[in-house]
Symmetry: C2
Subunit: 273 residues, 2 copies
Amino acid sequence: MSETTEPSDDKYPLRSVGRALDVLQALGAGSGNGMSVGEIAEAIGVSRSTAFTLLQTMVARGFVADTRIGGARLYRLGLTLVHLGDRAVAEMGITQIATPILQQLTDATQLTSRLAVLDDGYAVAIGRVDAPGPFRMTASLGRRELPHCSSVGKSLLARLPSEQVMAILTRLGMPRRTEHTLTSQAALIADLRETAARGYAFDNEEDNIGVVCVGAAVYDRTGDAVAAISVTCMKLGRSEDDLHQLGSAVRAYADRISLLLGGPAHSALPPLA
Amino acid sequence: MSETTEPSDDKYPLRSVGRALDVLQALGAGSGNGMSVGEIAEAIGVSRSTAFTLLQTMVARGFVADTRIGGARLYRLGLTLVHLGDRAVAEMGITQIATPILQQLTDATQLTSRLAVLDDGYAVAIGRVDAPGPFRMTASLGRRELPHCSSVGKSLLARLPSEQVMAILTRLGMPRRTEHTLTSQAALIADLRETAARGYAFDNEEDNIGVVCVGAAVYDRTGDAVAAISVTCMKLGRSEDDLHQLGSAVRAYADRISLLLGGPAHSALPPLA
DNA sequence: GATAATGTTCGGCTATGCAGAACAACGTTC
DNA sequence: GAACGTTGTTCTGCATAGCCGAACATTATC
């Protein structure tokens, strides 16, 4: 997985600020073993001295941590970011309510479960309970994921008016991730209709071969889908029936969260506008 | 809790970057309901137009999220920060190993448990498992906390050579937080000696009246205290004996994490240098 | 010990980012 | 419903903050 951090064409008002953010994203995309000044400079396309100055200011504030190792310095993401990320999640409110239910869902299914919201059209996970055991299924938080090949994305899109869905899909595109990815708006909207009817969504190897996710939406007082939850598992040896059974289980847990928010269960939803 | 975000005397190389980071910290310290351009401008001490430009660049990158509400705009922390915070924690490695044990500790004690490391002398939580029930004991992640009045802080300091401890204490100061806070280096070092001997540390209403924490250090292959765990509870009606019993329980769970890291249990530690 | 590969500092030119004021879009009040 | 106040947004010009390249310092490598 060689993610290249593109120097994000600085057409933004504040160049130095943009570059500072580039540094953070480069460190976030990096191998995790830290980066040297030179590496960072190259990654964001500036001179070493510029990168150095950027890093200095961010280290002073705890946004970047540095560790000297002999004459060299390695830079990594600082813990201030942990704090801000935690605050950002806390401000969303849903997380505290949902996490215990996610834990129950993971206990019941032995699968990694996630909580996600729609952000600017993207599906973004804001909570997670890892499956027991050393399985290390990469479930990162806060990363923007395309909604058309994600169970939480589809759960959330399913309750949106189709003009809005089409606007989002047009804006973000529907790139093919696997041979099962739905790449036409018509196909996806048909899938969303089914999803809305049954109350749970599938990602059937549409994002990664061999991996399936099952998601269901969470509704607040106003009946809007404000979030979605999902579980992730291996396709290997699971029948259609198994997946549908999993689906109604996930939907049941989602309904429990909706209940805590004062929202309706899926079965009590008003029809789509 | 009226935390004022001081405009952090811009004596840093890059002014605009420093201000951008100020904006993030202001949003993090804010009420959580979002802030307007004007509020932010005032908080960090710049003109409205400057704040506006700063916000624009950060919104474009997802570091800040904006929500229009009528003609007004409210800014809050963006989800990109969640991603970076998650990456920062993931890069520390310990978290994945420790979290299941923290969960067990919380299950066994019904108390909120935390995992923390020493960062620049400060104690910083990087993992947390909340107690069941709606108790809302504020346990924020990633915030720098003074080590002299924290059970995790004291657990970590206890295994450091006393010159280093004194250097840290001198640098950070030992402000009085409650009537029980240890405010002299001599008193704290005596406490640390006891802590090192028994393998668990107390914060006995030293940070907040009515709240006690019990912590224990986690050791890696090299025998260094790389992290510490703790539980937090109300003082109300707990005897000395109860707390010591809790202490040896926390120590036992910390030892389990050390074991997973290939490090020694507390009882197998070499004597201090 | 010489060479290479870093990290760090310096200085000068330029473009950048700053503030303040003008403009626009709302909400509010009488 | 019109005048006002408030807040978000754009504009413009000047000063300086920030960028690069090159020199210097430091540490690994052979």
